[in-house]
Symmetry: D2
Subunit: 338 residues, 4 copies
């Protein structure tokens, strides 16, 4: 880290800071500038915060990080891209993986109909929520355990592996009985107890970015899972919160090239939640693939205007099928397949 001293810091103060840097196990390197003195603290600072508290000293202006604070998620540790394999589906390889299905599992008919239609259109994973994090306590909260069973039935019928959300540590075991991929939702990105538990489960994890989560924080949440012994982490950009209100969130596709530079983990994009409006899903799905995403998460519902959740952003199965055929062309244009 770099410790910037206030202008006018005395020699005694500089020595005192250097002493503390040494005491914390780093080697101090003093550079006296024209206006300020800065002290470089040499050592492996990744994952450490002890130097930051030096900011409380009267003579210190700021303490700045030099290294990214994550290790196992970093491309410096592992150069080649991670490919997560789920029931024969590779996520992070040449083929763009499309996960599609309803926001919520609402009934047997609904989930079976959607599953067979998204499979026919070329989706490789079935998505669907059984436990639903809802902003209002009065909104539909999901079919819970019953929903998990319906997803399992849809999997048996179609052969599609299933991704579904788990919301609390105690439910990880239950959900892992039915799900091939455990989804951590945006609202739980810093639910560290839950991250530790899904790490133990060893099941592949789809880790959605929170609506105000910086890319650095996101990779630190991934680091909780990786350092807990589970290497199968898939990242999913789903929109951040900004001042713009014509879209529900601002899908941040910039995250794709940034992540490709910083990490070896595969990156998905969710244009349904990211925009909140079905008319914008296709454009952003195409853009995600063109930017280098390894896959997509798309909401499909047979009758969106009657959906119990997220109707405005769901595609009808026919539109989804059209989307897939257009997406294939974009994938080929960037040397991927679909």
């Amino acid at each position: 880290m770099i410790i910037v001293l206030k202008s006018g810091a005395s020699d005694r103060e500089i020595d005192e800071v250097a002493r503390r840097v040494r005491a914390l196990g780093y080697s101090p390197h003093v550079i006296r500038g024209e206006v300020r003195t800065v002290i470089g603290a040499v050592g492996d600072e990744r994952g450490k915060e002890d130097l930051l508290s030096l900011e409380n000293l009267e003579c210190v202006e700021t303490v700045q990080r030099i290294l990214q604070p994550f290790k196992l998620a970093s491309r410096e540790i592992k150069r080649e891209p991670t490919v997560v394999r789920v029931n024969g589906v590779a996520i992070g390889g040449t083929k763009v993986a499309v996960m599609a299905g309803p926001c919520s599992v609402e009934s047997r008919e609904q989930v079976l109909e959607v599953a067979s239609k998204v499979k026919a259109a070329g989706a490789s994973v079935l998505r669907g929520g059984a436990f639903k994090p809802r902003t209002s306590p009065y909104a539909f909260q999901g079919l819970e355990a019953e929903g998990l069973k319906l997803l399992a039935e849809a999997k048996r019928e179609t052969g599609l592996p299933v991704v579904t959300e788990v919301m609390e540590p105690e439910k990880v075991e239950l959900v892992a009985e039915y799900a091939d991929i455990l989804q951590i939702g945006a609202r739980n990105i810093q639910n560290f107890s839950l991250l530790k538990r899904v790490a133990e489960s060893r099941r592949p994890v789809l880790l959605k970015r929170g609506m105000a989560t910086s890319i650095q924080e996101w990779l630190l949440s991934a680091e909780y899972i990786l350092s807990g012994g589970n290497p199968n982490v898939i990242l999913c950009e789903r929109g951040i919160r900004t001042f713009e209100t014509t879209t529900r969130f601002t899908l941040d596709l910039n995250a794709i090239p940034v992540l490709k530079r910083l990490t070896h983990l595969p990156v998905l994009v969710d244009p349904s939640h990211g925009t909140g409006h079905w008319e914008y899903v296709e454009a952003m799905a195409r853009a995600g693939v063109a930017a280098g995403a390894d896959g997509l998460l798309v909401e499909v519902h047979p009758r969106p205007a009657e959906a119990l959740s997220d109707g405005p952003q769901s595609l009808k199965p026919e539109r989804f099928a059209e989307l897939m055929s257009r997406l294939r062309r974009v994938a080929l244009a960037v040397d991927r397949d679909l």
Copy 2:
């Protein structure tokens, strides 16, 4: 809600939307404007979302809410302010309640020293973290159960009731054995499983705003606790995430008058997390009281430069004592006491 149709919507389409509105239990009220037709859906929309899915119809432009979606948290339901009472301390009354203590409980000496000093300076509740939500898996994660016991000891010695964070549903019972107030941290504001469990505990809850939580969403999270049968909810503004980087977060004091208009629940302010820097704590603490806050949450550490977490934003006990004497003057100037 107000359903705005696209310009050029046909009579048949208008009738179809009206039919669906009726089917969902609302009474449609069609207004044909010069440019567009809008349909008012009359009925109690609070806590309901079914009308929103109509946005998926081709002829619908947008669906806009008219009513706030929360009920029990609303001042329309309960006019008089809620006062939460904890061991003789009233939160939400005339007296501004100050909760102070270290970010993390680090040792017996540390917590006992801080507790006696903040009590002497006039604090009425002791804060301190035993379970710590840390961005990095490599950072100090708290003393956990041992930390709870040290807080209990500090309470016995000083008489100060204790507020401490609980991070997962399974731990609510354990934490409630020691804590007088259960804190839900910013990162768990939409951890709905946790909200349901603290509702059941009946223990007063300090509900911190998330870093990207709108005021409406925040009150819906409070609604989870209230509708779960626990009326003792205290809100705490702690800074939102914006583009500005000179402060760690942007403490949003505007939330105070907005909340005073919308809800009867007491509102606290946390200038330590809100600014992330000890030099800004006093100004923002004074501003919070002047804006009408019912209390403050302030981090105090005997040796901040050696703190295991949040050193940059912690006050030394002497500074805290000065802060309290200056705050008292501001409190009196707005007809409160401290």
Copy 3:
């Protein structure tokens, strides 16, 4: 607009609001709901704000807009897309228009070298700054009039039309002597005096979105130019300000499908300013084209590490040539050409 009254509004108050609505030239339409009364004010509210001031009445909770406030920019007024033609280049047609060149014009050699190289790679317009809006007064402020002459020389040599920024009303005439397209920079998006002056010039205008400009405000700025008699407006998304700091701004590609729905004006994307880093330019350029952009603005410099401005985000000419060949494939995959 929809005027939402506070709960408990009396009949007398409702009548008074209705009277004022009528006095402002709208026809009031009262809907008495279970909890609140709302009054629809029927009439053409576009471009009007008089009803908004009713929010100051004690009995009024909020006043909500129903219609978009712009007219000439709207697709409701003009269904078919606008194509802006500049020296034989069509912007908004099937072919994706690429405008490339240095951030600042620095010297004759630099601008001529870049111009011939971007032309060879397939760019159709030369960009380059002569008047530069710089955050710091101590930074290089551009070659000004001398820079305009160099751009004109580059145009003569290559045949490429020129887009360059104009920063103040008094300079519009001078810049229009040399530029084929007048650029309004992000910092001047709400410099209304400047907008009025470029409207009068009748020269095509490239209107960049401001870093905190909502899409609605952006289209209202376009409306200043359109209603001033200049129909040749090209919009350019160049990144908005969010909390994320790994990119200089957050390029908001969601704006493309949103704008395609709301307006008939062509939409460009600037991945150089949007990301602030050359390594991210290609991914975001591809994504922009895939999302439906009508063109791109790309910074190219022969020796970026020595650039007087925006070096970190500039491409070397060789990389730009590679980018163009990859972009062509993406353009074809979405039924465009390049």
Copy 4:
């Protein structure tokens, strides 16, 4: 600045970066860490950007600033607070200066009535807009030159000095004939041509923060005026744009203690624009004073529900008088007067 190299940078690359640092006039200081090499570039980097372009070198990860980029605005250059004196009113001294009046000058009667009433209540400067920056071209654009004359008449009648906005360089001379303080509005914070012109006028300048302007950029805009030879700059916080929509903007009071640390310039707060709603003005005005603001800007209108602009956020004169008497108590509680 600190130049962080990519891990694995070779000795040859390190030497090359050091050579370039030297060529730009800085002295390079190489620190080889365990994971990365960083190079400190020692020299006065304030106001310079040349080193930043080194980020384009393949071996460079990032270039980080150490010093604040402004000079004349800095407290390191001038320790004692600047007091701006206008017609006997001191801004930046012990007394909190309150500038009040209508958003727009609408008529002779309106401005004279407001002027006499705000004076009676204790305001020390009259505010009022003659040239109005309006988001929509169809909205009332101000009385322009006629409005300036009415402000001058109000000044003659009440003795209050006048602050009013100037929107374009060509109008600076005209506005300066009538105004005691030139206001630069939020939308013109980076209208550098305008900043240079008001610098030349030598008239005191009220510089409002833009809605997405970082504090560092704001002080660089002040630096344009200071370095242009005009030392009389007053800063005014007026709300930034965030995701929260219950207030029109998010008034960022954190800026007050941050600015008091970084600069010697006086700081005002505008709670009317900051919140956009009259019911929130008083709480935020009190909070601003408690946080250490040197003054306030408050909108007052005799009949806000009929105002031609900003009606929702304007106070009636009676409410303003009450606000003043309550504010006085807060001012005294923080050792100021009003």
